[in-house]
């Protein structure tokens, strides 16, 4: 069952490549088929394992798959599923479905290859989320970023020149490559440490979790993992690649998969840093809080300064990631709930905002705030939705963001009340930039005449946004379904 999560996107991507040569319709068909299969699979898994929550096969895992791979080094093809990874997988599958649907709006050159890259990235992300063997985890971690490189360069935003896109993509790849090699060092150190203690070669998470590491070594290993995740997240000293990557990527909203790429880092922190290196994570939590606060305020302020709408959303997402980082490192039961729900919430709202932005772009052909204005009068639906998701971004009660925010703040308050007080202020800044955007874009006099002639929202666009909105509202009003799945993963 678990292997299907890997096989389906892989086969789908290869099919897209080969049949994409016959025509773009084939490629689209296979892409949508593969993604639908993944969504169905995750629904099936939910019904099977989590709906009747008394079923439990293993202490940690609901479902496991072990195939020996390189026995000399104790490396196994070990996939496993628990509540946390199930939530991330479900999120990925929904987002990739939307990504494929979004990319229908543009006929590109070499469309088969485009879907190949997209699905291959989904394959990599699924691999990262499912693999429990650290060697395998690293393999997927490396594979995951490569398609992004090609997506930026070949199907990026046509506003930018080829050279700029290559520069951005190179920056992205060099950041991730160097950080991931540091993580590889850490994985090796972890394995060697286990070998010296037990004389068994293994890369299995289950073995490491009960293993004691000498404290100085644990610091080094933990930092290796932390840097790799912090670069992906991105936390402020390592965020150089992030904003340009967002603004220069595809215009048609299929970029919400990048959002998924980022959330995987948060997953890594929850899975590895908090469980494998409990002592050092606890010892260093003040530094992490500091980094998180810098990230939050930096993101919020930069969003306020920026004129490009896409960059604003990217900065606000940086700010969110800072909040998630702090929540993760609070390390109590509320913050655990809060972190996961915030990951879900922020990826929904951010991708919905990006989709809306791409819809706006298709009508106005600009992303700069100063060129826009008074759109409320000309375009139906989109401004309303935009407003809704901006408010969701501000954690409006009734949305899932609010649930996450409350949980996280309770968790943070338990850990250190002062920090909670500081973080409440971050909300203020996000309110300011959100209101600024809405005021500039949608109200006031109409700036450009061409917006008068633009076409209205069509069914598919409307459906996608409605879908996001419904999910946000339903989960916001009735969050118990998710909370239950998370609760199962804690035991």
């Amino acid at each position: 069952m678990l292997s299907l999560f890997l096989i389906v996107p892989f086969v789908g991507s290869v099919c897209c490549w080969f049949f994409g040569r016959q025509g773009y319709k084939f490629a689209r068909f296979f892409a949508i088929l593969a993604v639908m299969c993944i969504v169905l699979l995750s629904i099936l898994i939910w019904l099977k394992d989590f709906y009747h929550h008394e079923r439990c096969y293993h202490i940690y895992w609901y479902d496991e798959l072990i195939i020996p791979w390189i026995p000399q080094l104790g490396i196994e093809l070990h996939l496993a599923l628990d509540g946390l990874s199930f939530i991330m997988i479900a999120l990925t599958s929904v987002l990739s479905l939307i990504a494929v649907l979004c990319s229908f709006y543009q006929i590109k050159n070499n469309e088969g290859l485009f879907y190949f890259n997209l699905l291959f990235m989904v394959f990599g992300i699924m691999g990262v989320l499912l693999s429990i063997d650290l060697f395998l985890f690293f393999c997927f971690w490396e594979i995951m970023v490569l398609p992004m490189y090609f997506l930026i360069i070949f199907w990026g935003n046509p506003q930018y020149t080829e050279k700029q896109k290559i520069y951005t993509a190179n920056k992205f790849l060099i950041y991730t490559q160097v950080s991931s090699i540091v993580m590889l060092f850490s994985i090796l150190l972890l394995s060697f440490n286990y070998y010296y203690q037990t004389a068994i070669w293994t890369f299995d998470y289950n073995c490491f979790i009960n293993n004691s590491i000498p404290l100085p070594l644990e610091y080094i290993i933990m930092l290796g993992f932390f840097i790799a995740f912090a670069v992906k997240m991105p936390i402020v000293p390592f965020h150089g690649w992030f904003v340009n990557c967002h603004s220069q990527s595809c215009i048609d909203g299929s970029f919400d998969v990048l959002g998924m790429l980022i959330k995987v880092a948060a997953y890594g922190l929850l899975r590895f840093n908090m469980h494998l290196f409990q002592h050092t994570s606890h010892n260093l939590h003040l530094i992490v809080f500091f980094l998180g606060i810098i990230t939050i305020f930096y993101g919020a302020w930069m969003a306020f300064c920026e004129l490009n709408l896409k960059k604003i959303i990217a900065y606000s997402s940086i700010s969110h990631m800072g909040f998630i980082l702090i929540t993760i490192y609070c390390n109590n039961i509320f913050s655990y709930y809060g972190a996961i729900i915030q990951i879900i919430a922020s990826s929904f709202t951010t991708s919905a905002l990006f989709i809306l932005l791409s819809q706006l772009y298709r009508r106005t052909h600009t992303n700069i705030i100063t060129n826009l204005g008074g759109l409320y009068a000309t375009i139906k639906w989109i401004p309303g939705f935009f407003l809704f998701f901006l408010f969701a971004n501000l954690n409006l009660p009734g949305t899932i963001n609010f649930v996450g925010e409350i949980m996280a703040l309770i968790g943070i308050f338990i850990q250190s009340p002062y920090l909670g007080c500081i973080l409440v202020f971050s909300l203020l800044f996000s309110v300011i930039y959100s209101l600024y955007i809405t005021h500039k874009i949608f109200y006031g006099p109409l700036k450009n005449n061409f917006t008068m002639t633009c076409k209205q929202i069509d069914f598919l666009e409307f459906f996608m946004i409605l879908f996001f909105m419904l999910i946000t509202l339903i989960l916001g009003i009735y969050p118990n379904n998710i909370l239950q799945v998370i609760r199962l993963s804690i035991t």
């Binding site: 490549w17 080969f18 040569r21 791979w69 390189i70 026995p71 000399q72 050159n109 290859l113 060697f135 690293f138 393999c139 997927f140 490396e142 594979i143 490569l146 490189y149 090609f150 360069i153 070949f154 290559i166 190179n170 790849l173 060099i174 490559q177 160097v178 090699i181 540091v182 590889l184 060092f185 090796l188 150190l189 060697f192």
Partner: protein
Amino acid sequence: MICMFIPHVKIIALMPLFILMSSIFIIMFSMILKRNHVFVFCITLCSLLCTLVSLFYIYYIVPVTITSLLYINFYSLAYIFIVIFSSICMISIVYIFLENFYNHKEEFYILLLSSITGAVILIEANHIFTIFIGMELLSLPIFGLITYSFKRSTSIPVILKYVLLSSIVTSFSLLGITVIYLICGTLKLNYIKIAFLINNIFINKILLFGVVFFLTSVFFKLSLFPLHFWITDVYNYASPVLLIYSVTVVKVAVFSILIKLFVYFPYIQCQKLYLFIELLAILSIICGSIMAAFQNNIKTFFGYSSIVHIGYILTTLLVIQDYYISNNIAIIYLINYTMSSIGIFSVLSILILRNKNVNFDLQSLSVYNTLLKGKPILCIAIIIIMFSFLGMPFTYGFITKFLILSIMIQNKFWFLLLSVAISSGFGIYYYLKIILCLYNTRNMISIQNRTPYTRIEIVIIFISILIVILGICPQLIMNILRLNN
């Protein structure tokens, strides 16, 4: 049963040398009677294949000592196997190459075979005398082979430069040999170790001096960091077919002798030497990757990237105390290195066959695109080979990189690890620069000659399939190597 036919075990062990030498004589005599390219090609191919088969036969009798000059063990067989395999791949490309352009076709094979003989001697050597002979026999024919380039006029000064440099370096190594002889009184390798162990610190310093001077020529052949300046010229003008040879066969053979020599240098007495090697490896990795990042010519680019790879392999020398592990990992790495190099340079040779114009730079690399137009499988094959160079997961390159890193971490070479991190940043930049050219549809160069050259393409696809198979199940090679520990 089998031993009844064969008089002496040592004769069997010398079979590869006999086969190669006799094929040289056969080619010479046939050329006296009549020049026939196909015949000569067949003889060469047959001799190489026979050598390959004879290795499986020798496998049952190793380790063998043949007088005090030669010593064959399992690892020598593995190195010879790599050498012969890459020569066979090269020969199959060379045939098309020579068929199209040259008058003196048969001489190429003679030079090549004598160079391969040198490589085999070098790999089997157990005496500084044999090492010297092997090294010279390996490199002297290359002077002749460089002339098989399209631009005769430019290649003469390049050859002169290379000949001068390598003769200077050879004289260095002769000086080193005399110093070693002065101290040890013999040139057998194991006497060096004894000399190191029994003498006092002062004499050891002199011996170390001799050893370093002797190693200079080895480093020159490997084109390690301070001795790499000849690469730019030679690689630029030599034909890609020759580059397959000089990047794979020469380096594998020379490295095998390096790893054999280091067994005889005890760690405690030669700490400075080991430190020197570590420094050399760090500098080669960092400088090689930096220089490769700024190359505009694809052939010198691969020259520099080969420096980086040799830098990685040098790490295995530092853990030579664990003889089996270091040899195993060196062989695993070299297999990847040879396969990827063969793949890449065969792509280049297709390009040059099409273009007939040797000097093209990276800016005009969109020729790749014309090459790969309508050939998705070849395109995938090339990307796989590149990824293997880069060490991406699920290719063989990742396993090798992983093993090298595990050595470094096990022995706590922190500076080497740092340099690996730096070079991986550069590496992904410059390899992906080339992969981008595969896709780029703009500024296509039209090449009139659209002959398919299916044979070379088959070699490339075969190599890429091998890389993926070994990347997914590396235990195939590991099992073979482990059985012999």
